[in-house]
């Protein structure tokens, strides 16, 4: 949905299990929003939202013999100075998958995806407003280089 009509000044990247590649993807961005499926036990379709800085330090231990998890990759990017100063995660709660058939998204999750997309657009608009305010010279702030 976002790729078909990306917010202004944004690159939309679909990264399938990026692992360490997430560190590269974050580099060079002024701000980043990561959207991912999550399972926390909350009802399917719940949207969780938090900043990169709100990730618990224990998340760095959560990785697999198969690659770095999202949280650990974010923290590694921050440690290496490659993460944007503004970073947000939007997690969409999914229902446990059906083993009987390929079930796809539940209706609630599908609705949540639409809400998450709107949240991304509004977040980008908020960020652009903040950047414009910072850039105004008569407020005494430095222009953005």
């Amino acid at each position: 949905m976002l790729a078909e009509a990306p917010p202004p000044n944004c690159e939309v990247i679909a990264a399938d299990r990026p692992g360490t590649a997430l560190v590269d993807l974050l580099e060079g961005a002024t701000a980043a929003i990561l959207i991912d499926a999550v399972r926390s036990g909350a009802p399917a379709g719940t949207i969780h939202e938090f900043t990169f800085d709100e990730l618990d330090s224990g998340a760095a231990h959560l990785f697999s013999s198969h690659d770095l998890g999202v949280a650990a990759a974010i923290q590694l990017a921050q440690k290496l100075g490659r993460a944007p100063s503004v970073g947000r995660v939007i997690g969409i709660e999914i229902a446990p998958g059906s083993t009987a058939r390929l079930s796809g998204l539940s209706p609630r999750t599908r609705q949540a995806v639409r809400r998450a997309v709107e949240r991304v657009r509004s977040s980008v608009a908020e960020f652009e407003d903040q950047e414009r305010e910072r850039a105004q010279p008569n407020r005494g702030s430095e222009p953005i280089a």
Binding site: A37, H61, G91
Partner: protein, 434 residues
């Protein structure tokens, strides 16, 4: 992921449909003496053997590739080679080279991940790669560059680096143009120096000095470092065709584990993986790599499982050199894949996955539908050897705290880079003292 927000909650990001297991070790002591030791590692390939039955063999490479998220290429390679033996297919020499190139990419990314994210933090007293970056940012940056180069190779042939699709029975769904491979050349040349530094870095770790009586097993090949072809060889005299896997090794069900334990027939456990390959095929790495190996001061061959991390780093260097060789010599094949007719029969093959020899055997009916499948991954074959290593550790564990004992067991298990889900602390250790 977990959050520090005011209301406590846990967010678990779990994108893999299979449940990756943990490793569990149960040690029973009586008056400080070992009575029993049991290791359990979850083994998902067994479920794949069941649901492959009845499927068209041509689907098998894409299905078996999903057994593992870090070594899908090796699973594809063992599968396609087994079916090519079954159907009597001869692959184009250029396809043969591309397959070595493909597996080089997987070795590079898998070994780089293991060295920098799992093993190095252990040896350097860090609890994760994130804290390792505090201690040695340069090493972490280097590891990420190396892994990225490996991912790029896999993506060039498989369409993407995660669950690549591209290998098929007879060859590849498409063969790259020379220019596409040449694009990777500069990236590989840049990380070659990184790979040499990585060997030097890990060889200076405080590696425990142990010597074990171990039977190392890997493919051996007269002309080259083994990847997709060769004979089964061992440090105690095995020399056999891959099709004779069952003449050399036997599996038995350990009553306490859902895994089958493997042993050399008439002998005992055996050791697969980079250290086995380096030990058995040292000269085949070529003088540019063997000179770096000798400079470490570590004797090759050796029987110290803790030098596995150095063997992995040497294989990263070898794989970069081999990938560059393939790129420089590459001429696209006349056709990306050989055509074939399905028939009934049995095909068997072994490929050297990052973690060691991976054995596949398939039986098909006249329509090419799979009647039976057998997949024996290196982690399963290594379980008996890992148990043997843990038994050797026990005298040193008796006086340790639970945390110290667990950490020592984890380090011993990590020499084998087992294909399991692991946090920095993955092991459930239970010690019963009577």
């Amino acid at each position: 992921m977990t959050s520090r927000r005011a209301k406590s909650r846990t967010i678990q990001v779990n994108y893999l449909t299979r449940v990756e297991g943990e490793a569990a070790v149960r040690i029973r002591l009586h008056d400080g003496e070992l009575v029993d030791l049991r290791l359990q590692i979850f083994e998902p390939p067994r479920f794949f053997e069941s649901f492959l039955r009845g499927r068209d063999g041509r689907e098998a490479p894409d299905l078996t590739a999903r057994i593992c998220g870090i070594c899908p290429v090796a699973y594809q390679m063992s599968t396609v080679h087994a079916f090519e033996r079954l159907y009597g297919i001869t692959i184009d020499p250029a396809v043969r080279e591309l397959r070595r190139f493909y597996l080089c990419g997987e070795w590079i990314e898998s070994h780089a991940l293991h060295i920098h994210m799992l093993a190095a933090p252990d040896f350097l007293g860090c609890d994760s790669i994130v804290t390792l970056a505090d201690k040695n940012r340069q090493a972490v940056e280097r590891g990420l560059r190396i892994k990225k180069a490996g991912n790029a190779i896999v993506a060039a042939l498989g369409g993407r680096s995660v669950h690549p699709v591209g290998a098929c029975i007879g060859g590849f769904t498409r063969a790259p143009r020379r220019e596409q491979l040449a694009d990777l050349r500069e990236q590989l040349l840049r990380v070659r120096d990184d790979a040499v530094e990585c060997v030097q870095w890990v060889s200076h770790f405080d590696l425990p000095a142990v010597t074990r009586d171990i039977e190392f097993v890997s493919l051996r090949n007269r002309d080259e470092y083994p990847m997709n072809e060769g004979r089964i060889g061992s440090s105690k005299g095995i020399d056999a065709e891959p099709g004779n896997f069952d003449d050399c090794f036997e599996e038995h069900q350990a009553p306490y584990s859902n895994a089958l334990h493997c042993k050399v027939k008439g002998r005992g456990p055996y050791f697969l993986g980079p250290l086995a390959r380096v030990n058995l095929n040292f000269a085949r790495m070529g003088p540019d790599v063997t000179s770096v190996a000798r400079e470490t001061g570590i004797p090759w061959p050796n029987s110290n499982p803790y030098t596995s991390i150095v063997a992995r780093a040497l294989e990263v260097l070898y794989a970069i050199d081999e990938a560059l060789r393939v790129i420089d010599a590459y001429q696209p094949p006349a056709a990306p894949a050989a055509s074939f007719e399905v028939r009934s029969g049995v095909g068997r093959a072994i490929t050297e996955a990052p973690r060691g020899s991976l054995y596949h055997a398939f039986e098909t009916d006249q329509r090419g539908l799979i009647r039976s499948a057998r997949i024996v991954p290196p982690t399963a074959q290594n379980q008996a050897q890992i148990e043997a290593d843990l038994r050797e550790l026990v005298p040193g564990l008796v006086q340790r705290s639970q945390a110290e004992a667990t950490h020592l067991c984890e380090m011993a298990i990590r020499n084998y880079d087992p294909c399991i889900s692991c946090s920095t602390h993955f092991l459930k250790l239970e010690i019963e003292r009577h």
